[in-house]
Amino acid sequence: MRFSCQRAVLAEGLQLLSHVTAGTTTKPILQAVKIEVSENKAVLEATDLEVGVRYLLEPVEVQEKGTVVLQEGRLAELLREWPEERVCMELKGTMCHISGRGGAFKMAGYDPKEFPTIPIGVEKGAIEIEAGELVEMIRKVAFACASERVRHTMTGVLFQVEAGTLRMVATDGRRLASIREKKGTSGRGPMEGIVPRKGIEQLARIAERQEGKIQLKLEETHLLAASDRATLCAQLIEGQYPNYKEAIPVNNDKRVEVDAEILAGAIRRAAILTTEERRLVRLGLRKGRISVEVETPEVGEAKVDIDANYEGENLEIGFNPDFLLDALRAIGKGTAHLEFKEATSSAAIKSGQDFIYVVMPIRLTEAS
């Protein structure tokens, strides 16, 4: 095997794959990257057996076909320190030679036969989605996943394709974010799967590097995704996802329209006077305004009033400010539609037709 390419090209590929290789493992080969050089191209591969990524290196100049498996971390570090624009790699026996002005290096490789096989690409039955929109969708829901293993399925993001439209849902049992692709792609589906956090993050990285569309397919046990240069295979989480449709309130008749950024600012300021043990803000709905109030014994009190389009009955409802801020951050600029029913039932925060966020309140007692 012998090829050369721009240092930056290889470094970029390794950067992407560095998030795939296993952090700690009993199998060192899972911390390695495979470089497979064929007649006119070179492909990088890495996997931790849960997520696998193939990445096409281009442009490259191939002198000789062959495969080498090298420890990813060391190779990436060497490339960062490499003083030349180009880098040339050559396999001699089991050692990979990298030489030039930066010095002469021989790195011991692993046996390529021991490298796990990663399913290749997406074939039939995939949906296509604009990479930019995919990144946006992930950004708007993935934060709502459970970080602890409350229920294992809640640590991932539910992907659901119905009538060719992709929906993503994430929840940690206290709040839930759901987003639907703006326009349906092609009428394919239904298919469904729960993608673990690592798979989601990797999918976002691949989509960020893609200009056009991403192909997605949910197999029974895997999510497959493909961009022009990368393919991803991510194991799905087995199990029953909570019935999220039932968690979305439909009879919330107390509706408020408010500027998302202004509300976020008010909550952020008020929340300064909360504590770790008492992370609580009260929203007070009155005609034409919302108040954000905090009362923390031994810390202080805050009351922020903001204008809002509201005509309904008065309501006082408590929330963890972080859960509200997460939703408002996802909405960004624009109008947030808040829908409430009562102090102990879920509230919905919507933006446009596609994004729905549901959050459970904190029970207000005399003590709070």
């Binding site: 929840t171 049992g173 206290r174 709040r175 909570p242 043990e277 609580l280």
Partner: protein, 377 residues
């Protein structure tokens, strides 16, 4: 030097019954866990004790010893109520109150006693005064008598309160302690049960004073860690603090059937009633439980426990009963086996949070399960 007070109500349950019902005052009142069959005595008035009636004695034996006794079924709720009143009074003297049970508590009055009259630290006058006031207030406000012991540590205070029951009052000073302890039976030492007592008797040790010549090394060799306690307690040395932050590790109740039961409906009914009781207790303490354990003792005394740990701590009867019921019906072999006793306990207790985040989905299946099996004869 510390000043510790031990307050112990006299024949507590029986006295509460007499208080509530003047017609039985001064009579041989005997409060029982259950009146028929296999109930046991939970508290006997001093009038009944004259005839040899004691706590934990089977009711039928008590009836033989004291046929004219007034046998009553216990009213735990009422006793808890009176107990709260007692603890409130004690907390008026110092916040350093350690409740030992419903009718018993330790108080650390070191600071209160010396602050009140600026006496020399070795002087007990201040603590003695506090002890007498406690007795008076209990009598005046509750209409009940308590025995009070004052000493330099918990062990000696408890010995003191027990020496002159009922309505007793005793101070044990550092100078007097050896004289008081010398001839007391070793069973007065907390932790010395029947087995330990027998082991000590085999060494020729019957009284606390007889323990004195035995070396620490020998006691540790024979009794392990407890040997150390024996060595120091026998000499009246006890540095365990009065612990106010008393957090229960579990709450539980069990009950023995009148006769062995095979009918699942009856067993379930009983378990439900017990669950209701412990959940009430749990809520009163502002606690929630993560682990629910049920216990079943078969007629042959084989005892099994089954437990489940749930994701979110619960204090709702419906949730807790749901799990207890599943444990009973699905994890206990009941077919054709007669049951003598059922019980339920809640453990893994956590404080009810100051702010309660509500949840989107019904909290579902348990995360861990455990069961144990044992035989007791």
């Amino acid at each position: 030097m510390r000043k510790i007070i031990h307050v112990d109500m006299d024949a507590f349950f029986a006295s509460v019954e007499e208080l509530d019902n003047p017609t039985i005052r001064g009579k041989a009142v005997i409060v029982c866990g259950g009146l028929t069959g296999r109930g046991v005595v939970s508290s006997a008035a001093y009038e009944a004790r004259k005839f040899g009636v004691k706590s934990a004695m089977p009711v039928f034996r008590a009836r033989k010893l004291c046929p004219h006794g007034i046998f009553l079924e216990g009213r735990m709720e009422r006793y808890m109520e009176v107990s709260l009143q007692l603890m409130r009074i004690l907390k008026d003297f110092t916040p350093l109150v350690e409740p030992v049970s419903v009718d018993e508590a330790f108080l650390d009055v070191t600071e209160v006693a010396s602050a009140s009259d600026g006496l020399l630290p070795k002087d007990f006058a201040g603590a003695e005064e506090v002890g007498r006031q406690i007795k008076e207030r209990i009598k005046g406000e509750m209409g009940l008598t308590a025995s009070v012991g004052v000493a330099t540590n918990k062990f000696l205070a408890k010995v003191a309160s027990g020496r002159r029951k009922p309505d007793g009052f005793m101070v044990i000073t550092e100078e007097e302690k050896e004289r008081v302890l010398k001839d007391l039976p070793v069973s007065e030492i907390l932790g010395v049960g029947r087995v330990m007592e027998k082991a000590l008797q085999e060494m020729g040790i019957h009284t606390i004073g007889q323990l004195w010549p035995v070396s620490l090394a020998e006691l540790v060799e024979r009794f392990g860690k407890f040997g150390r306690s024996l060595y120091y307690l026998s000499k009246g040395v006890d540095d365990t603090p009065v612990v106010t932050e008393w957090e229960p590790k579990s709450v539980g109740r069990s009950s023995t059937f009148e006769r062995d039961i095979k009918d699942l409906r009856v067993i379930r009914r009983q378990l439900y009633d017990l669950t209701e009781d412990v959940v009430r207790q749990l809520k009163e303490m502002d606690l929630r439980a993560k682990t629910i354990t049920i216990k079943v003792r078969y007629s042959n005394f084989q005892t099994i426990t089954r437990s489940i740990t749930i994701g979110t701590p619960a204090d709702l009867l419906s949730t807790i009963w749901h799990h207890a019921d599943i444990l009973l019906r699905e994890r206990v072999e009941l077919k054709e086996r007669a049951v003598r006793l059922v019980g339920v306990s809640l453990s893994n207790l956590v404080q009810t949070p100051a702010v309660e985040q509500l949840h989107l989905f019904e909290e579902g299946a348990g995360l861990e399960e455990a069961s144990t099996e044992s035989s007791k004869h």
